[in-house]
């Protein structure tokens, strides 16, 4: 990672509105390769819109969005497939296809992305690997409706990571899950990030989620998360937090700056230890 490499994702004064209601208001930021971003904000503050805009699913009214250095603002739907094949996204309600089995769901990006060419046998192996990664290798033939909420979320993570995309977007990965399942999901996200140095954007409303992503690293050798905060300045600087309020980016900084913020709205997202 060199400081001069183009940012993986860059927003320049992006404004998005629906039917006259502003969802994102003049948002600018950039994410460098290998960095993690945690997005906090109340419901309706524009976090989901931001993720969708990064994929070209929602078009900005003004401003420009760059993904891997390419301006996607004016690209046509058919031209976006190249960019989209390099980005994995976990949707809020998992968004697995109901009519397909878990295996078909996870295999979907491998065989439908135009930019990805995958043989049947190789694809099958990748699907099994991705499902093993999320510890769901026994559910290949099941339908999404047969799985629990946490398992569906894990299957959706498998679908997002199966192509090995260099940028991963997670929309509220822990919403509606119990604390134990939620921590397992976050552990998977950290694992996906550290196994291949993936740039990660995560929307969440749980401070613990951000804390885990910022302070822990997945150790490939012994297969566990380890607490590394304070020991590796490069690692500490790679995670930044952003807080949104009614479509505006009101905070962009490190965890320490977030915890020290005196703004009443921002400090609501921080879990105080005392």
């Amino acid at each position: 990672m060199t400081p001069d490499s183009p940012p993986v994702l860059k927003f320049e004064h992006v404004t998005v509105s629906f039917d006259g209601q502003v969802a994102l208001d003049d948002v600018s930021f950039e994410v460098r390769e290998g960095d993690s971003r945690i997005l906090f904000g109340a419901a309706g503050s524009g976090k989901t819109v931001l993720l969708k805009a990064s994929l070209g699913l929602t078009r900005p009214d003004s401003g420009r969005i760059f993904v891997f250095g390419q301006d996607i603002t004016l690209l046509k739907e058919s031209q976006l497939s190249d960019i989209r094949s390099k980005v994995g996204m976990l949707f809020q309600e998992s968004a697995l296809f109901d009519s397909m089995t878990i295996e078909e769901n996870v295999a979907y990006p491998l065989f439908n992305q135009k930019a990805i060419h995958c043989e049947a046998a190789e694809g099958r192996q990748k699907v099994v690997d991705a499902l093993r990664f999320v510890e769901l290798e026994n559910t290949l033939a099941k339908f999404p409706s047969e799985l629990s909420g946490g398992m569906r979320r894990r299957a959706a993570i498998a679908r997002a990571v199966v192509t090995g995309p260099p940028l991963l977007l997670y929309d509220s990965p822990t919403a509606g899950l119990d604390p134990i399942t939620a921590n397992n999901i976050i552990a998977l996200i950290v694992k996906a990030r550290d196994a291949s140095r993936t740039t990660t954007l995560m929307v969440t409303h749980r401070y613990q989620d951000g804390n885990l992503v910022a302070k822990f690293r997945y150790n490939l050798e012994d297969g566990r998360l380890e607490h590394v905060a304070g020991r590796d300045p490069g690692f500490d600087a790679s995670t930044r937090f952003m807080v949104f309020r009614e479509g505006r980016l009101v905070f962009d900084g490190t965890q320490r700056e977030l915890e020290e913020s005196s703004d009443p709205y921002i400090s609501k997202f921080v879990l105080k230890r005392d």
Partner: protein
């Protein structure tokens, strides 16, 4: 006034954009032939029972009513002719289309609507698939293929229903079927097949349009479903009027 007109005009515009995309995708790759056959099975084979039932009883009730009216002129023997012409030109296509609209416009709207509100449509786009190509075009092709076939079946079953009634009121079967056969000309058959083909566009595209434009959670899915059935049914009546008008005024000469 202008604000009042804005939403219906936007709806019509959105509908025609979707129709254009769906038609363009027929000649574009990739083709999802598996989805086309699946939809043919759901829409065509799945609608067979209700189409047979409505066909049979509409033919039977037509024969009952017509034989009574015709008996005043001493022309009961022409019952088969009246049943055949009415069924093939008008009632067969319209009743079949209404049944399929009730069953499949709603089915399509609720299925696509649920996919929309659970972000599956967005996921599909994010995973490199055009939802119109994958979801709308197969349903359009399937409906356009099976609706004329269903109509032919409904027409025949209706005539058979008429023959059952004819037998009850002592019209010999040969006389009934001969008058049915003699009554029908090529223009009736062409008209009777043109109509379901046009209705199929309305049924499939209205269902898909309302499904894909669903907003507002599960409540929105219900609303989209209702709107799809109402609009598709009304469109069937509007279309049948104009197609009949074209044939009656002799623009199409056969």
């Amino acid at each position: 006034m202008l604000e009042f007109l804005k939403s219906p005009i936007q709806t019509v515009q959105g509908f025609f954009i979707l129709a254009g995309q769906a038609l363009r995708n027929i000649i574009r790759t990739p083709h999802y032939s598996q989805d086309i056959f699946l939809q043919m099975d759901i829409i065509g084979v799945g609608s067979l029972p209700i189409v047979i039932l409505t066909g049979f009883f509409s033919g039977a009730v037509l024969a009952l009513q017509m034989s009574r009216a015709l008996s005043e002129y001493g022309q009961v023997g022409r019952t088969g002719q009246v049943v055949a012409i009415t069924l093939v030109r008008e009632l067969g296509p319209v009743l079949t289309a209404l049944m399929v609209a009730g069953r499949n416009s709603s089915g399509i709207a609720s299925e696509l609507g649920s996919m929309k509100v659970t972000e599956q449509i967005d996921a599909m786009r994010a995973l490199g698939t055009d939802p119109v190509q994958k979801l709308v075009t197969p349903r359009l092709i399937a409906t356009c293929t099976v609706l004329p076939l269903l109509t032919v079946i409904a027409d025949f079953i209706g005539m058979f229903g008429g023959s059952v009634v004819a037998a009850m009121i002592n019209i010999p079967a040969t006389q009934y079927w001969t008058s049915v056969w003699r009554a029908l000309g090529w223009s009736d058959v062409v008209q009777g097949l043109m109509k379901p083909f046009c209705f199929a566009f309305a049924i499939a595209l209205v269902g898909c349009y309302y499904g894909l434009s669903t907003t507002g959670g599960t409540q929105g899915v219900g609303r989209a479903t209702t709107q799809a059935v109402v609009v598709a049914s009304v469109l069937v009546f509007v279309l049948t009027f104009f197609i009949t008008k074209i044939f009656v005024s002799g623009v199409v000469n056969l």
